[in-house]
């Protein structure tokens, strides 16, 4: 007997607005949230732009002590998880805590706070034998990546399997995928799943500068993220979090929960090729897509929308276009495929979960979010990228795909209420 996995709640902290409503308004309007960096002084950097969250943790009810001790990305996650749990109508006090799990992803974890304290203890990089007396006594909370899942589990009383997933830029997709497996295999009935990152910091911006992965369009931040456009020149850093409440289907029905959609399949493969490079064939991503379709016993022609990784680097956009064409065949040309990174930037590990939530909202509203800033077609990328304007469309089966440093290639399939083949 296969256990089905339902999405019953969603929450998001994204650039352009906090909460699913503000997030969807931004996407549906095709507006962009990319701007000059305000979180620190980016002078001297090649890329000085990012998609930042206007986030006031106190206004979202976070405990001042928590705010003091945990990094921004964890604060995002707590707020997004709060919205998701409220949205699901789940009362954690009425659940068996051993049957509630947490699966949260983050690519770079607490590096922002680690860097902040590093500057103090090293006297701005002057010494290798750093001075511990200048460090925050709670710095271990930034050092331990598992603080993310641990803090969220504490907040919601989860005592089942609790894990932090860190597979680079597929962390969000994989965290959702691990949670899907956790419920499917019967190790939990409910899982708080998603991802968070706040990587807009000097060290992270500088390390992407070093490999020229980020866009240098500092004078036109609003239009800097141009996935699939012939004139794209790299991704724009982002930050944020998204969390979903995943639930065993019968468990959700028994408590009368609203079911947004079901997770129809998940797969991940390594490309075993290069830590940061992608081939132009997209074989491994294609295999991940094929695997999710196989799990759902779904013909490729039933896919109604592909939410692309669409980072806006030339190699990514070619890779992904090839992968989707390989998996969907001729149907690829009839399938809209868009990148919300054009609007909310690339928040590394978080973005996979943010994109899954975008897919849930697309299913809910029966609208495909656009690729903002897409103006000039690239002969190498010849699919329908939904330029600039959101598009109403009948949606049942939606794919979200992603690629990450380390070679990770992941895919998640969501199936709306009407799309289930029985």
């Amino acid at each position: 007997m296969t256990r089905r996995v339902a999405v019953t709640g969603i929450g998001v902290v994204a650039p352009g607005g906090i909460g699913t409503k503000a997030f969807w308004d931004l996407l549906e309007g095709g507006r962009t949230a990319t701007r000059g960096i305000t979180l620190f002084d980016p002078v001297g950097l090649r890329s000085r732009i990012a998609a930042e969250c206007d986030f006031d943790p106190l206004a979202h009810g976070l405990d001042p002590e928590l705010i003091e001790h945990v990094d921004r990305y964890i604060q995002f996650a707590v707020v997004a998880a709060g919205e998701a749990v409220r949205d699901s109508g789940l009362d954690p006090d009425r659940e068996d805590p051993w049957r509630v799990g947490v699966s949260l992803g983050s690519a770079v974890g607490g590096t922002t706070r680690l860097e902040h304290d590093y500057v103090q203890v090293s006297e701005s990089g002057a010494r290798w034998d750093v001075d511990h007396r200048r460090a925050d006594p709670k710095l271990h909370l930034a050092f331990a990546p598992s603080t993310l899942a641990s803090v969220v589990a504490e907040q919601f009383g989860a005592q089942g399997p609790v894990q932090t997933v860190s597979t680079g830029c597929t962390s969000g997709l994989d965290a959702v995928g691990y949670a899907f497996h956790t419920i499917e295999e019967g190790r939990a009935d409910v899982c708080i799943a998603g991802a968070s990152d706040s990587p807009i910091s000097p060290i992270t911006m500088a390390c992407f500068d070093a490999i020229k992965a980020t866009s240098p369009d500092n004078d036109d931040a609003e239009h800097a993220s141009r996935p699939f456009d012939a004139n794209r020149n790299g991704f724009v850093m982002g930050e944020g979090a998204a969390v979903l409440v995943l639930e065993e289907y019968e468990h959700a029905r028994a408590r009368g929960a609203h079911v947004y959609c079901e997770i129809g399949g998940y797969a991940t493969y390594g490309n075993a090729y290069h830590m940061t490079g992608l081939t132009s064939e997209g074989l491994e991503m294609s295999r991940a897509i094929d695997s999710t379709l196989g799990q759902a016993r779904l013909d490729p022609t039933r896919i109604d929308y592909v939410n692309a990784h669409g980072s806006g680097t030339r190699q990514n956009d070619r890779h992904e276009t090839a992968a989707v064409k390989r998996s969907l065949g001729g149907h690829a040309h009839r399938t809209p495929m868009s990148s919300i990174k054009s609007m909310v930037g690339h928040s590394l590990g978080a973005i996979g979960a943010i994109e899954v939530v975008a897919c849930v909202l697309a299913l809910k509203h029966q609208v495909v979010p656009p690729t903002a800033n897409y103006e000039t077609p690239d002969p190498e990328c010849d699919l329908d990228y939904v330029p600039r304007t959101a598009r109403p469309r009948k949606l049942r089966n939606v794919l979200s795909v992603g690629s990450g440093f380390g070679g990770f290639q992941s895919a998640v399939l969501l199936t709306g209420p009407a799309g289930r083949t029985r």
Binding site: G160, E185, A213
Partner: protein, 415 residues
């Protein structure tokens, strides 16, 4: 609907890079003899810190096993993981050629500290010299996924790849993740964890852990289950395993070292050690249940052995809660008191020790521990001969996770 049982996940290879041994055989010799290698920290720039004792991996030269082009891109923690992978694959007889089908092999690692030394060096360049001095490998060396990615690339492994960025217990979660990968149809998984937390800034970050031992005498710094328990000593290193579809492993003539039989994980909150009693007991019951294993079948327990009195008490009680009367009779051991706790690497080293103990019919002792103050049959001083078919490995993390793993001996299972 097929009624075919999912494949068994067999351990066919073990690779160890530990403070007390740079291969599985060297590690086992030290573990069996109860050798303690806890010592003063010698890593550069650490001498002034109020954390004096650790388990360091010494005399390790990654270049013996790994090509320069991989080494320059990676931190010490990935050097350990890549080297341990070479050893594990060799041990499994999969070392020479790559896999026939690249998708047949996946990689899963657990990581709790990332590439701290590499990261500190690049932070120093950024803040000391300027952003243009940050090197191109910072983006792939510091993050937690570095080892999985590099192992996948170096080996040509395209199967499911994953990373559990976790506290200590995540090491066991990674083993379970790999076993599930095999049960879901991947032929073999390279799985494990190795850590390198002994760089100056990484050590500063750890100083906040209330459980950390700052005792300066290596013989007294890490003594769980005694009145003198004063916290844990950190360590570097870890182990990688090859976990493989048992049937297909047998077909290629591989030796089945052990079977990953059951696992469960729970969460009871960071540093809430009294509550970990319930969480650990729950995890043990879950792991036994998945393994289809009665409490009396457990022949040895590899304890988490944190060395904090409340945590030690909780663990002793959890063993009794979950195993009943058998809990006070079953031999318990904690070889990690001789090497320290290598975060996610620690339960991997324990799993390796459990497999080796079953193979050799000997329960290794708990170094530096003599005066046990809990109702446990803790093996101390000398290794104890015993017929071992089933081992229980326990791990708890500083951020609140509890995990239990049941491992069956390969020989027993083959009957």
């Amino acid at each position: 609907m097929s009624t075919q049982r999912p494949p068994n996940a067999a351990i066919t290879g073990i690779g160890v890079i530990a403070p007390n041994g740079l291969r599985a055989d060297a590690y086992w010799k030290s573990v069996r003899e109860g050798l303690s290698v806890l010592d003063g920290i010698t890593r550069e720039g650490c001498g002034h810190l109020p954390l004096r004792v650790a388990g360091e991996v010494r005399a390790f030269d990654a270049a013996d096993l790994i090509e320069e082009r991989f080494l320059v891109q990676t931190d010490r923690f990935s050097h350990f993981a890549m080297a341990a992978t070479v050893l594990a694959l060799d041990d499994a007889g999969l070392g020479a050629a790559g896999p026939e089908d690249a998708y047949d092999v996946g990689v899963v690692t657990a990581a709790g500290s990332g590439g701290g030394e590499f990261g500190q060096r690049e932070l120093q360049k950024l803040w000391g010299q300027g952003s243009k001095f940050v090197g191109p490998y910072q983006s792939i060396a510091w993050f937690y996924a570095a080892s999985t990615g590099q192992i996948s690339i170096r080996g040509g492994f395209k199967g499911p790849c994953g990373v559990v960025a976790s506290d200590e217990a995540g090491g066991l979660d990674a083993v379970a993740h790999a076993a599930r990968g095999v049960r879901r149809g991947t032929r073999a998984m390279v799985v494990g964890a190795a850590e390198a937390p002994l760089a100056p800034y990484s050590m500063v970050c750890q100083l906040g852990y209330p459980e950390l031992s700052t005792v300066e005498d290596p013989r007294r710094a890490y003594r769980p289950f005694t009145e003198g328990a004063s916290g844990f000593v950190p360590a570097e290193g870890g182990a990688m395993l090859v976990v493989e579809d048992e049937r297909r492993a047998r077909e290629r003539g591989a030796e089945i070292r052990a079977i990953v039989a059951g696992h469960a994980a729970t969460f009871t909150g960071a540093s809430r050690w009294e509550r970990s009693r319930e969480g650990l007991a729950h995890a043990i019951r879950g792991a036994l249940d998945e393994a289809g294993c009665a409490p009396e079948e457990i022949d040895v327990v590899f304890a988490d052995a944190l060395g904090v009195p409340a945590a030690d008490r909780a663990e002793a009680l959890a063993i009794a809660d979950a195993l009943g009367a058998h809990g006070t009779r079953v031999p318990v051991t904690a070889p990690k008191t001789g090497i320290g706790r290598a975060y996610c690497g620690a339960p991997l080293l324990d799993t390796a020790a459990a497999v080796l103990a079953m193979e050799h019919g000997q329960i290794p002792p708990t170094p530096n521990v003599f005066d046990v103050c809990h109702d446990l049959d803790l093996v101390t001083s000398d290794a104890r001969p015993a017929e071992l078919r089933t081992a229980l490995v326990l791990s708890r993390g500083l951020m609140g996770s509890n995990a239990a793993l049941v491992v069956r001996s390969g020989g027993d299972h083959a009957r």
